[in-house]
């Protein structure tokens, strides 16, 4: 589904990604872990199409198309979803209006009929309940005055509504208490399917207790320095990122 090859990127003069290679197939859940400043969020932003970063080398293929060549809205329409680390507050734009506009544009792109407000409300009803969001939140402005937990649950709720092929979660666990974390994880797990892939980007392995990854990758210094299975996350939790640095030094 997604093939990242030798991806290099910088912001202004600072090189952040130094050659990322990663392949994600449909049905898989991948986790990228790494210390602060390793380039995790940069990778997420580049996948979603934020233009603060300059890709200097490498490519990203999404379902046979050049992802880097697409507008952010085209990426979304093609089935990529980024759950933001810091969801943006947008006063004056209501959640339901915005989400219907997003869904209908995606449906239009797929050649499906647009949903009326009534059909839309029917489509989202069970998802609102599942994410334990109060329904008045739909008529409120996007993320405005939401608590940290509400913002993250709203991200996963939007993901459930838009039904993407590839879900990228950028530190969705940060700032969540254990109850909210379970709700978020449950929401993601509900979306797991053989046609869909998930990329979880996180600093801590805590979220991975609830969203079990098939593959775990360690990102350090702008490169994936180690990949493994579920057990790698546990090892990182136990030993910290230091042990990987030691391994790298030993290898060199």
């Amino acid at each position: 589904m997604l093939t990242i090859s030798n991806l290099h990127a910088r912001v202004e003069e600072k090189t952040i990604l130094r050659g990322i290679d990663l392949t994600i197939n449909a049905g898989e859940v991948h986790a990228i872990m790494g210390p602060n400043g390793s380039g995790k969020s940069t990778l997420a932003s580049i996948l979603a199409g934020r233009d603060d970063y300059e890709v200097t080398e490498g490519s990203v293929d999404f379902e046979g198309e050049d992802l880097l060549d697409m507008d952010p809205e085209t990426r979304a329409a093609e089935g990529l979803f980024l759950a933001f680390q810091y969801p943006v507050e947008i006063p004056g734009v209501t959640n339901s209006y915005f989400l219907r506009a997003a869904l209908n544009n995606i449906r239009k792109h797929r050649g499906e009929a647009e949903l009326s407000m009534m059909e839309f409300m029917k489509h989202i009803r069970s998802k609102v309940a599942q994410m334990e969001l109060s329904s008045d939140l739909l008529s409120r402005s996007v993320n405005e005055g939401f608590s940290g937990g509400e913002k993250k649950r709203n991200e996963i709720f939007q993901m459930a509504v838009l039904e993407p092929k590839l879900c990228v979660l950028d530190e969705t666990d940060s700032g969540l208490d254990i109850d909210a974390l379970k709700v978020v994880a449950n929401g993601v797990n509900t979306l797991r399917s053989p046609e869909r892939a998930v990329l979880v980007i996180t600093h801590y392995q805590r979220l991975l207790d609830y969203i079990t990854p098939d593959f775990v990758h360690v990102l350090m210094g702008g490169r994936i320095v180690k990949s493994g299975g579920r057990e790698l996350a546990l090892e990182l939790e136990a030993k910290g990122y230091g042990f990987i640095e030691e391994e790298l030094v030993a290898k060199a």
Binding site: D71, E73, V88, G92, V93, A102
Partner: protein, 438 residues
Amino acid sequence: MPSLIQDHAVVARLLSAHTPPALAEVRERAYQAFAAVGMPTTKDEEFRYVSLRALDEGGFGPAYGANVDRQETEAAPLGGLDAINVTFVNGQHAPEVSGFDDLPDGVFVGTLADAFAANAERVMAHLGKVATLQGKLGSTNDERFVHLNTAYLGEGAFVYVPRGIALARPIHLRFLTKADHGPLAVFPRVLIVLEDGAVAKVVESYGHLKGVAFVAPVTEIVLGRDANLELTRAQLEGDDTMHVSNTAIHQASGSTITHNNLNLGGRVVRHDVNVWLDGEHTETWLNGASVGRRDMVIDNHTRIDHAKPNCHSFETYKSILDDESTGVFNGKIFVYEDAQKTDAKQTNQGLLLSAKATFNTKPQLEIFADDVKCTHGATVGQLREDALFYLRARGVPKAQAESLLVYAFAAEVFEKVTVTDAKDALEAILFERLGTQA
């Protein structure tokens, strides 16, 4: 002498035919007052950003009535409102496209001419007495366009709601221009009187059917004790219209005004709203939104005189400026020595959609009481990149995301319009002006 007023004597004679004799002198005095100062230039502080040279050079003549039919007026913006409707074309009443029958007992909605005939005293008690700064603080205000309008005073709309009556149906006072014989000048006049405890909603709209026009209205509003008026002023004129207008509001104790001032058309637009708080525990909501495109200039001046204690005023003005347009906001608040416990809040925001658009904002607070709460804030900015990216990353195309954010910027003001079909129509016009569909 500006060509604009060279035919004054002729027009004044015509107006004398259907107006009370006392008005002849009022017109003449106003004419002299205007002629003495003439058109302002950009050297006049109050008109720094508004070039009105075209008014001296543009060959504007007196307006004559034009033929219109219902189909034509209904197709124009705000044409289909479900309301008591008084429509004027080129300043003259157009009965064929108006409708104001079946009013509750004692309520008057109609033309000044009919109002003079029915009860001239009731009109003359207020006409011309609200739109004046005599006896008020400050010296920088400029009343010359009130004088100019008064020099031609005779036609216009009158609304009278007697004590305790709450009017269920909204009123639409509609002023259209159809300049099919060269540039014309019109001077609409509106007087709205709500007696104690009366409640009404009025939409005052300025629209355009054809040609080049100079429109210089004066609207006077008198609110009795505990009266409540929602007045939505929709300026929707054509690309070649010059619009210079004044609204003056007089509030007695306990009264509430919600003035929604929406400027969505015209070329050079200047509007002054002056509020005189002449009783305690009043509420004043001044909401403004304007959309500038091309080389439009939209200049809003507001002035609130807190002359009595315990009054609250809330002011929110927003300017959306694209292309090479210019936005101006000047917000004066005077708190008089006796006006303790005044609570005045002024917010002004400009949104620049183009590198060549400019916005000039100037709060002017003069406070002579010591126990008051007055705040003001002005910001100028562009569309937020983070919000734009968030919307796009969810699948909303760039153009739609931009107009959503621009709409969101102005939404706070449009939401104050509670005449639902007017609000919907105005929002649709806003989206159309922004170049996208909702």
